[in-house]
């Protein structure tokens, strides 16, 4: 059976990432960033991607990476989720990287640059796209140039390079050659933008849809770990608060109405850990069960993260409803992530086909 635990190396990696995030990504900083123009925290990105070398984890040594795997990447995602870190890790170090890993030599240079954290790339699909769902693109190819529009691309404004699916394959476009319009996003820690291409010069890096599908599958698998990290943090901070907040002469955490809900949440988070680990392990080893594992992980972890964030708001009472408290950062990230890369419902529908439970 697949190993669902964390290795010592993974725990060390977690420790390193957490130290950097504690230091450079306090929630007060994340909050302040919501109202800035910068689409992401560039200093934090350099620290995580370059100094810690996390961007290249799933990329083999000979292709310019760190030669680890998606299992380690998943641990980084957990930590980034805990901190709601405003960095384009999912977009560049997971989706774009997975696309280029599945592509041929044409993307080799760019892959190495992504792995080194020197460049940021995003796959130009709406963030809501499910691994097996329609790509929703109207982009055309004419004389090696792309024309068309893609809406709601996560971290599009942070990107140096756009990887655009279009008839015939996946094309790399210099982000400077596209018109990018920022979207006021539900989750301003991972901002969307609309992209318009007007005869933008493009270079084909992969044929067919396989690379995009690989990217979406990897993205969905890794997102589950991010959701786990977020849920775990929401639970932890809520438990801490309920031990110290007194009403009616007792800590509110001594009321069974709240204790039982937190016990259920803890149970759900423990399950989220098992399914997220399973998805990461399957992805890392190219297991034939990967599609099933990813659908399970997304269907489960999306719901757990949203529940955890909603309980976090509710159990903090009035303070949990204020801008000056981090609960809303978690809630917005959780709800956006549940829609991202396929809603739980779409993942269940995919599962119906995969495990032979056909619809009515």
């Amino acid at each position: 059976m697949t190993n669902l635990l964390y290795s010592e190396i993974e725990e060390d990696l977690r420790g390193g990432v957490r130290r950097v995030l504690d230091d450079r990504c306090p929630w007060t900083g994340v909050l302040a960033g919501l109202e800035k123009d910068e689409p992401y925290d560039a200093d934090l990105w350099r620290a995580v991607a370059v100094q810690l070398g996390c961007a290249g984890l799933p990329v083999p040594d000979e292709r310019g990476g760190a030669g680890a795997s998606w299992r380690e990447t998943a641990v980084v995602m957990e930590e980034l989720g805990r901190a709601v870190a405003p960095v384009p890790f999912l977009s560049s170090a997971v989706l774009a990287t997975a696309a280029l890993l599945a592509a041929g030599d044409a993307g080799a240079d760019l892959l190495a640059e992504l792995a080194a954290g020197e460049k940021i790339a995003v796959v130009a699909v709406p963030f809501s796209t499910a691994p097996k769902g329609p790509l929703g693109t109207s982009v055309r190819v004419e004389d090696g140039a792309l024309t068309g529009a893609v809406t709601g691309v996560a971290d599009g404004a942070a990107a140096d390079v756009l990887l655009v699916p279009a008839p015939g394959g996946l094309y790399a476009v210099d982000a400077a050659d596209a018109r990018r319009t920022p979207v006021t996003s539900l989750d301003m820690t991972r901002r969307l933008c609309d992209i318009a291409l007007a005869e933008a010069p493009a270079r084909r890096v992969a044929e067919g849809e396989a690379a995009v599908r690989a990217a979406l599958t990897a993205g969905a698998a890794m997102l589950a770990s991010e959701q786990l990290g977020l849920a775990d943090r929401c639970l932890e901070s809520t438990v801490e608060y309920l031990k110290t907040r007194y009403q009616f002469g007792r800590p509110v955490g001594s009321y069974q109405g709240l204790k039982h809900r937190l016990a259920d949440l803890w149970t759900a988070v423990a399950q989220a850990r098992a399914v997220a680990r399973y998805a990461a392990a399957c992805l890392a080893s190219g297991d034939p069960d990967t599609d099933v594992a990813v659908a399970i992980a997304q269907a489960h972890c999306s719901a757990v993260a949203v529940k955890a964030a909603e309980e976090c708001v509710q159990m903090h009472g009035g303070i949990g409803f204020t801008w000056e408290h981090p609960a809303h950062l978690y809630l917005k990230r959780a709800k956006s992530s549940a829609i991202a890369l396929g809603t739980p419902d779409r993942h269940r529908a995919a599962l119906a086909g995969l495990v032979d439970l056909p619809p009515a």
Binding site: M1, N3, L4, L5, V239, L242, K243, R250, P251, G253, S254, Q256, K259, H260, L262, A263, D264, W266, T267, A270, Q271, A272, R273, A274, V275, R277, Y278, I296, A299, H300, D345, R348, A349, L351, A352, V355, D356, L357, P358, P359, A360
Partner: protein, 397 residues
């Protein structure tokens, strides 16, 4: 044993050499099982001499698979769940050498079935409130009281029993734990019919039952601590088994869905997929728990596994009845019977639906498990206790 504990290859080798000396087809069933116990191949994590080899618990499936492949007789663990899952680990932890030697072998082979005399009419979740009295009489104890919900008491040769030996101290302190002979004079077992129609469990009346002091488990007054060991093992035993995908109740409904397209509706499809995902999540969580135990890092997921198992069984069996529609209105058998085991798969959907209701009550109710997770795992403050420093005899009952 001074050498390192055996690994998987050692164990396979041991089973094979055991099988060359003990041909299962040419041997009487009980003689085979006893020999398997004596060879340390019963429960490999138990100590040598007591059916084990001090091997990692995670290697048990290796041994079981080898025996199954050879067509060896089984010890029918489903007939003695309380013995294997609860009595045995408690005897191992607290028993004297004499008790371990006397009780563990026939328990494992299934020659002697065990039951659990814990709950009483006035003490269920609050087990420590129990009032069955044990009074010392020389080198014996005289026991009087009533137990209830005692599963399989009608099959049992022995019972694990918790009693009150000192009513003058607060409830957790005045208890003592015994092994009770179910054939002793004064033990009366009366069937208690349950919502499924039959009687798995019983009322047990204890009237001047004499228990020799050598059947005491743990010190006098230490009963609560011993009972806690039993209960911890119970929660790991329920819902903690390795199953393949669709191995549990979800598989029954998934097969029904595939076989009977005319029953399908969009709403039930969504409900089925949700439960399928949850069943898989629970299964993987159980797998992760076992890996943690094997890696020497036991996590507190045990209570959570039981909690999730109960809820899932109830929801899935409820869905099955709705999916069946008209057929869901039928039941297989209401006659008052005395089953020898609980089997979810061989009975009708209606039975599954009803029996699953017990899953959130037996072995600690779901509410009590939530209290445990909240207080012992999350460290939230305990309930306000009105009974803590009051002598048992002065508690409101």
């Amino acid at each position: 044993m001074s050498s390192a504990p055996p690994d998987a290859d050692d164990l396979r080798e041991r089973v094979r050499s055991f099988l060359t000396d003990h041909d299962p087809s040419g041997m009487e069933r009980l003689a085979f099982l006893r020999a398997r116990f004596d060879a340390g191949l019963a429960w490999v994590h138990y100590p040598p001499g007591l059916g084990g080899l001090g091997a990692p618990r995670a290697l048990q499936p290796v041994v079981d698979a080898e025996f199954a492949a050879a067509g060896a007789p089984r010890n029918d663990p489903e007939r003695n769940g309380i013995g294997l899952g609860m009595a045995a680990p408690t005897i191992l932890a607290y028993g004297t050498e004499e008790q371990k030697r006397r009780f563990l072998r026939p328990l494992w082979t299934g020659e002697e079935i065990w039951c659990q005399l814990f709950s009483e009419p006035g003490a269920g979740s609050d087990l420590a409130a129990l009032g069955t009295r044990a009074v010392r009489d020389g080198d014996h104890w005289i026991v009087n009281g009533q137990k209830v919900w005692t599963s399989m008491a009608h099959e049992a040769r022995w019972a694990i029993l918790v009693t009150r030996t000192d009513p003058d101290v607060p409830k957790h302190r005045g208890m003592t734990y015994f092994i009770c002979d179910m054939t002793a004079p004064g033990v009366e077992v009366r069937p208690l019919r349950q919502i499924t129609g039959e009687a798995e469990f019983n009322e047990v009346f204890l009237t001047d039952v004499r228990i020799p002091d050598e059947h005491r488990l743990g010190e006098v007054g230490e009963g609560w601590r011993v009972a806690t060991t039993t209960l911890m093992n119970e929660r790991v035993a329920i819902g903690g088994n390795a199953v393949p995908r669709e191995g549990g109740m979800i598989g029954v409904v998934a097969r029904l869905w595939r076989d009977r397209p005319e029953l399908r509706t969009p709403g039930l499809h969504d409900a089925l997929l949700r439960l399928w995902v949850e069943a898989e999540a629970a299964r993987l969580t159980g797998e992760r728990l076992r890996q943690q135990l094997a890696a020497g890092a036991p996590g507190p997921e045990g209570s959570a596994a039981k909690l999730a198992f109960a809820r899932l069984n109830q929801e899935i069996s409820g869905l099955e009845l709705e999916l069946l529609g008209e057929d869901g209105l039928r039941y297989d058998d209401w006659t008052m019977r005395r089953p020898t085991e609980v089997d979810f798969t061989r009975r009708s959907p209606g039975y599954r639906y009803l029996r699953a209701k017990g899953n959130s009550i037996e072995g600690g109710t779901s509410e009590i498990l939530r209290n445990i997770i909240a207080e012992r795992v999350l460290g939230l403050p305990g309930e306000i206790r009105v009974d803590k420093d009051v002598a048992w005899k002065d508690l409101p009952k």
